[in-house]
């Protein structure tokens, strides 16, 4: 309709996966793929969302990309739908390869599927779902950004996100167990213990790059006397990038492996590390694809588990953390799991001073790394950073009120916030809850 102002584009390097995928497209393939997805994979939900939207723009201010780009309407949630799905529907799938390239970038790197906009649209229109439909189309067209596609490949081949090979996993656990035994003589990382109380699962980047987190978790469970185990084989990784590339079939396979591992071990619950997207996948998405209304086995996020350990006094704190902290509410566990009050209980139990950032709880701003955005890799780093200036401002404000440490109980948030803190020079130290608990807890001799 009205001529749009030019979009403020972040600088962006070449994405080879996307470029090659787009070069292979033909008009027929685009048209038939879009039509097939719209016709056979979507239904009344999509058409109702598209028809009910009154084009009021009220969702705009929900989105950190919009706020960070000086209210550029291209970044408003509904603006992104206009630039992708509306056009696909209107043209009945007859869009150009260039259009697909743009749609891939918008759906993958300019939306974190954070669902904040669903809280701002008066009708509760789920734009994250609409963006996922776009991603599904992009996936079927073979135009998913390279880096995240690589993680989906890894899921498909190794059933974990990081190409961790079969023996690398138990080796890493054994290595961490030995390291930890220098500190706690009788600590074990129990593998394949049938009938343990909980199965602990992590994302594959932990054994790959951050093995000390497994050490810390083992130390915490050891101190609390938790009956726990980890699977030595498939199903140990709870992460899921296939869910974000629209590769539902792979998503289903890896979630099934994860639940299967827990069932095989006859545990009562799955406790997972401080990761948000994995929680979304195991608690909310994978189960649905596999036909369960809710997960087949209780899923407990680390925040929830730490809450339990602290509340029941199974972990005792030697002293409170003296440095003032501020708490980031990860979308997937707060807007997606309601863990905000428990996170505050944990924070206040551990720390002398908690400075709230605003907005907070369900209304917190996303880190701009989630929804697979950070997994789209280096070509889009600037997209994430320039797209979340508002987060830097929010963090600055908390810092001005005294915060020196930022707690981010989610892996994606952690990495995304690291980039933001670094780029904008915010100067906050970023930590997991696990870091603090390990540091402050009473350690058994």
């Amino acid at each position: 309709m009205a001529k749009a102002p030019a979009k403020t584009e972040p600088s962006q390097a070449l994405d080879q996966g996307l470029a090659v995928g787009v070069a292979r497209l033909t008009p027929e393939k685009i048209e038939s793929t879009i039509r097939t997805v719209l016709k056979s994979e979507t239904g009344a939900r999509l058409s109702t969302y598209v028809e009910t939207c009154i084009h009021c723009g009220l969702c705009a201010e929900a989105c950190h990309y919009y706020l960070s780009h000086d209210n550029d309407p291209h970044y408003a949630p509904v603006g992104k739908v206009k630039q992708t799905l509306w056009e696909m529907i209107k043209q009945k799938g007859r869009v150009t390869p260039e259009f697909i390239e743009k749609a891939a970038i918008i759906a993958h790197t300019e939306c974190n599927l954070c669902k904040r906009c669903a809280q701002y649209c008066p009708f509760g229109i789920d734009i994250a779902y609409l963006m996922l439909v776009v991603r599904r189309i992009i996936h079927k067209l073979g135009c998913t950004p390279l880096y995240i596609q690589d993680t989906a490949h890894s899921h498909s081949v190794t059933m974990n996100q990081m190409w961790v090979k079969g023996d690398e996993w138990p080796d890493t656990l054994q290595w961490q167990e030995e390291e930890a035994q220098a500190e706690f003589e009788d600590l074990r990382i129990p593998l394949d213990v049938e009938g343990a109380e909980i199965m602990y699962s992590v994302i594959a980047p932990e054994p790959k790059f951050q093995a000390q987190l497994i050490y810390q978790a083992a130390a915490i469970f050891h101190a609390a006397g938790v009956s726990w185990t980890m699977p030595s084989e498939l199903g140990w990784d709870n992460s899921d990038m296939a869910m974000f590339t629209g590769d539902n079939e792979i998503m289903g396979r890896i979630k099934r492996a994860h639940y299967d591992a827990a069932i095989r071990l006859k545990v009562k619950r799955i406790v997972m590390g401080e990761c948000g997207h994995a929680f979304r996948s195991v608690y909310d998405v994978g189960n649905r694809w596999l036909g369960w209304e809710m997960p087949p086995i209780p899923i407990v996020h680390a925040i929830d588990f730490y809450y339990e350990l602290l509340k029941e006094g199974r972990i005792k704190i030697t002293k409170k953390y003296p440095t003032p902290i501020t708490l980031h509410d990860p979308c997937n566990v707060v807007r997606g799991g309601g863990l905000h009050e428990k996170a505050r209980y944990v924070a206040h139990t551990l720390c002398e001073s908690v400075v709230e950032m605003t907005p907070n709880r369900e209304h917190n701003y996303c880190c701009a790394a989630g929804g697979g955005a950070i997994n789209c890799g280096p070509p889009y780093k600037q997209t994430r950073i320039s797209g979340n200036r508002i987060k830097a401002e929010q963090l600055f404000a908390a810092k001005t009120r005294g915060a020196q440490v930022l707690i981010a109980p989610c892996h994606n948030c952690h990495s995304g916030l690291h980039d933001i803190v670094h780029h904008y020079g915010v100067g906050l130290d970023i930590k997991f809850f696990g870091d603090l608990i390990y540091e402050l807890m009473e350690k058994p001799a």
Binding site: A44, T52, G57, F123, V334, H340
Partner: protein, 219 residues
């Protein structure tokens, strides 16, 4: 003129109400049928408690974070929707028509109040129009159909206002008023005015997902 009046207030009115009520039923039944066919899971997540909790919240002016963020729009949209629904139903001259035709009647608004409410609807329509034209995030997603539906809604109120005050060409205005009202009724189920039917349902679904699964507030 009398023949035209008789036609628009007779057969055409029947047709408009038929399209309105029939259309609503048709759209609702079709939606439920479609959901049942392809996305049955939606039913299993629906919860009366959380649906009503969410809808209720959004029906309170300034009750949600976003209403508070847009005070002007919030006042306009609540004023607009309340006046839009209440005025035609409780207008004395409308109730008289029901009384004459079917021998049913109900409480009515004092004419002066109804007049003010009509003006409010028109003013709000003008506000929405200006907002569409000047607010970048709204302008960016505006399509021709948005102006059409705004016109469809504004027309019965503008013509009704002019007809009531009989400033000029009363018979023509009265007929224009009736026809535009009928167009609006008939258009509701088949244009994006259907948000009247669907928005409680989309809100209910999001409210249920947030309440039951996500344990978070969606406002």
């Amino acid at each position: 003129m009398h023949a035209v009046y008789a036609f628009v207030s007779g057969p055409l009115a029947w047709l408009a109400f038929l399209l309105f009520f029939g259309g609503i039923c048709y759209r609702l039944v079709r939606l439920l049928w479609e959901v049942n066919r392809t996305e049955k899971f939606i039913f299993s997540y629906m919860s009366w408690k959380y649906s009503l909790r969410s809808i209720g919240r959004w029906l309170i002016p300034f009750g949600t974070a976003n209403w508070r963020l847009h005070p002007g729009l919030t006042v306009a949209t609540f004023t607009f929707h309340i006046c839009l629904l209440v005025t035609p139903v409780f207008l004395l001259s409308h109730v008289v028509l029901w009384d004459e035709a079917f021998d049913v009647s109900w409480w009515t608004l004092p004419d002066g109040v109804a007049d003010v409410m009509t003006v409010l609807v028109i003013v709000c329509c003008a506000y929405f129009l200006i907002r569409r034209l000047v607010t970048p995030e709204v302008k960016f997603v505006t399509t021709a159909s948005d102006f059409v539906i705004l016109a469809i809604v504004a027309a019965p109120f503008i013509t009704g206002f002019l007809a009531y005050h009989q400033w000029f060409a009363y018979p023509v205005m009265a007929i224009a008023h009736i026809v535009s009202g009928e167009i609006m009724l008939a258009a509701i189920p088949f244009t994006r005015l259907s948000h009247m039917i669907f928005s409680p349902l989309t809100r209910a679904y999001m409210g249920s997902e947030f309440g039951k699964v996500r344990h978070a507030r969606d406002w």
